[in-house]
Symmetry: C2
Amino acid sequence: MELIDGNRISRKIIEELTAEVADLDGIKPAVTFVRVGEDPASVSYVNKKGKVASEIGIESNLQVYPESISESELLAEIDALNVNPSIHGILVQAPLPSQINERTIFNHVLPSKDVDGFNAANLGRLCQEDQDAFAACTPAGIVELIKRSNVETEGKRVAILGRSLIVGKPAALLLLRKGIPGNATITICHSRTRDLPSVTREADILVAAIGSPEFVTADMVKDGVTVIDVGINRVEDSTKKRGYRLVGDVAFDEVAEKCSKITPVPGGVGPMTVAMLMRNTVKALLLARKTIS
Amino acid sequence: MELIDGNRISRKIIEELTAEVADLDGIKPAVTFVRVGEDPASVSYVNKKGKVASEIGIESNLQVYPESISESELLAEIDALNVNPSIHGILVQAPLPSQINERTIFNHVLPSKDVDGFNAANLGRLCQEDQDAFAACTPAGIVELIKRSNVETEGKRVAILGRSLIVGKPAALLLLRKGIPGNATITICHSRTRDLPSVTREADILVAAIGSPEFVTADMVKDGVTVIDVGINRVEDSTKKRGYRLVGDVAFDEVAEKCSKITPVPGGVGPMTVAMLMRNTVKALLLARKTIS
């Protein structure tokens, strides 16, 4: 069994991006993070993204709005970011307060600045296999892990557990594409799937993205499978100082024994998401320059 | 074995739409067909669509451009249609001549007038399970056939043979949705799938959309399967006056023996595509009125 080391791979990507940005003759990619309220997880995620951006040489700017902001006020703020030519990427940190429809906000970000890839236009262009589309960062990270771990996908059976808009569906579209990695036979399963273990046991590659701690057990996979665990779940653990530990959607110890390759949690898909956001930001700058020239 | 009668079901939908349009107090939905050149199949398709529109009470208008039109000229023509408030739907008949990128044209149609559902924004909104999105007409027709034939999809295994942008992918997204029909476990297979018969034999519902005459044989399906045959292929037949006959992607006679339900070719999915185009046009008018009021 080989561990797919997301920390090492994301570190490599960050180094590559740093070199790429250094080659841009002083032109810096610029991303704006939009945060609403003071949710501690959101504060922490945005800080982390800002730190990595700075390391690469990407300018980042943080706009914070009060928890009480209305949807129309937030839309107007995004309008201003959309038309500002010195901003290449816009990331609106989820979750947003309940008075705001997240889909409305994501769809309002200019597609060419939508480095999060949640915009309908980018999802659609992903369906169209448009190379210039922005893919959502977590599924893009999954594909990059697969690619850089030399896991063959062509003609292989891939089971994706979870049909979410931010992971399951775009991951399916990416691995279905004509290309490398791609050309896989994709099965998307979910809460309504009957006899789930018989479906997941068909898979040469299993992507678990359901947000349920240690849901995938050894009886659900076949020998030699590659497992990509997207889940990051907190489970109570009184032996830990902070009172919990992080586990994935996969019961790691028992499943790992049957795997040819598997991602750990933490240190698997997680760090890739931030790296892919940075890659999308550099891509946004390059596409903007191509459009102008 | 029960035949799923697309002629009968599409006829019923056309009657429902006729009644719906009659209830609109004299306001008529209006669709513009854009045809480039004189390809006989395109001429015939557009004529057929115009005839059905007229029967329902939908106004249709045909714009014909010469085979030599440039992409930028065609984009300008579409701009004019996009801003014309008396046009609710725009359909650009494919195929387009080689100097024109079809995807560029489809993506240029205003999403709210994109009754063909080929626009990236509509594909993306389909991913987002937005009820107001326009689904492409053939996959929408497949789903409607399944619904009106009382074929249960929830938790069932659906194999979609073909990953095209106009059938395979949107059909997968539609049957994956939370709803009825929907909630299926979807497998998308294609030319690179290994041991295809073992994959298709898992399916409770098989959607064949690969454009290869009589490709699906009896050994590729399990007993009791429902088969939706999207293919319309011409094969030479000297016993026919016109020199050919139409067959689907399924070897009908041998596969039908194992089916609980199956669509014939012709008379299955084909007539549904036109009916769904009409439904999208009525929907475009209703959405436009909702936006204005």
